[in-house]
């Protein structure tokens, strides 16, 4: 009598018997197909939206639109930069003009003060003889 312990083939046959394929559960294929259909329905809207760009004409149109937007944005940015530079230069000129005007005013003020301080010293000399008489 052959035993599983003495004959390696017996063990292997027993393993083949133990591990033989089993039937999948009933409705297995139907369940898989239902899940596949559900998954396709989920991904379909995204696919249809993106499929717009699969047409060459629309792809080029989108590319042209994006390029135009980028070019217009660049021009607008350069324009703003130029305006800002002009504003800065005008500000510098104004500051210089104000500084010059301030200096001139300071000079005029000092002149006026000088004149004012020299005038009161001469007046008492003129009055003294008149009061004595």
């Amino acid at each position: 009598m052959n035993s599983i312990n003495q004959n390696p083939d017996r063990l292997e046959h027993a393993l083949q018997d133990a591990l033989r394929r089993e039937d999948a559960p009933e409705n297995f294929a139907a369940n898989v197909l239902t899940r596949v259909a559900g998954k396709s329905a989920e991904t379909e809207p995204q696919h249809s939206w993106l499929s717009i760009f699969s047409r060459p004409l629309l792809r080029w149109a989108a590319f042209a639109a994006v390029s135009t937007c980028l070019a217009l944005g660049g021009i607008h940015y350069l324009h703003l930069q130029r305006e800002r530079a002009q504003g800065e230069a005008a500000k510098q000129q104004l500051m210089l003009a104000l500084r010059i005007a301030g200096t001139k005013l300071q000079l005029a003020k000092s002149k006026v003060n000088e004149i004012n301080t020299s005038r009161p010293q001469s007046q008492p000399e003129n009055r003294t003889p008149r009061s004595r008489s």
Binding site: N2, I4, N5, L11, A18, S40
Partner: protein
């Protein structure tokens, strides 16, 4: 019904209905998962996931043999992922419950015990045993499917068989077939 897109498809599977592919391989995929995972509902869910993945990957598969190879490979990897995610208490073959059956048990009991012992093997040797004895695959093919050196596959087979033989001898005595 989800039919395969005919474009860019080899003649072997061009025009084949996806449902036909599912019906043709459902037993193979479900059984690998069932023998590995043990729990029938988890095995069914895992097998369904494999076919869902197949539906997305069909454009890259060129023939019926390619589909079969792909299914075995993906099922094996998903089995390992499934086991690692859930990580049940690992039962070594030495700790597997001892049967209370008499030594001259009949085939159904022996088959049940063998499935139990195979289920208690570590992940890789278990997959090797399932592919060898369920799918009747050669070690070279198993090595390719599992991306494993041939020597490792042979080593897993020899050691697992030796352990099973010892376990059967210890628990069931001289089993006659």
């Amino acid at each position: 019904m989800a039919a395969l897109p005919a474009a860019d498809r080899a003649p072997a599977i061009a025009g084949t209905d996806f449902a036909d592919i599912v019906r043709r391989y459902q037993s193979m995929v479900f059984s690998i998962a069932r023998h590995f995972v043990g729990d029938p509902s988890s095995a069914e869910e895992l097998a369904q996931d494999v076919f869902l993945q197949l539906h997305s990957a069909l454009d890259d598969l060129e023939s019926d043999e390619h589909i079969k190879f792909w299914l075995r490979k993906v099922t094996a990897h998903r089995c390992i992922d499934h086991r690692r995610r859930r990580r049940p208490p690992q039962v070594s073959i030495e700790d597997a419950p001892e049967p209370s059956a008499p030594g001259n048990a009949g085939d159904p009991l022996l088959a049940r015990r063998l499935r139990q012992y195979v289920a208690s093997l570590p992940e890789k040797p278990r997959l090797v045993m399932i592919l060898r004895y369920q799918e009747d695959m050669f070690p070279e093919d198993i090595a390719e499917v599992l991306s494993m050196p041939l020597a490792t596959v042979k080593s897993h087979l020899q050691r697992s068989l030796a352990m099973l033989r010892e376990k059967v001898t210890r628990t069931m005595g001289e089993v006659t077939l």
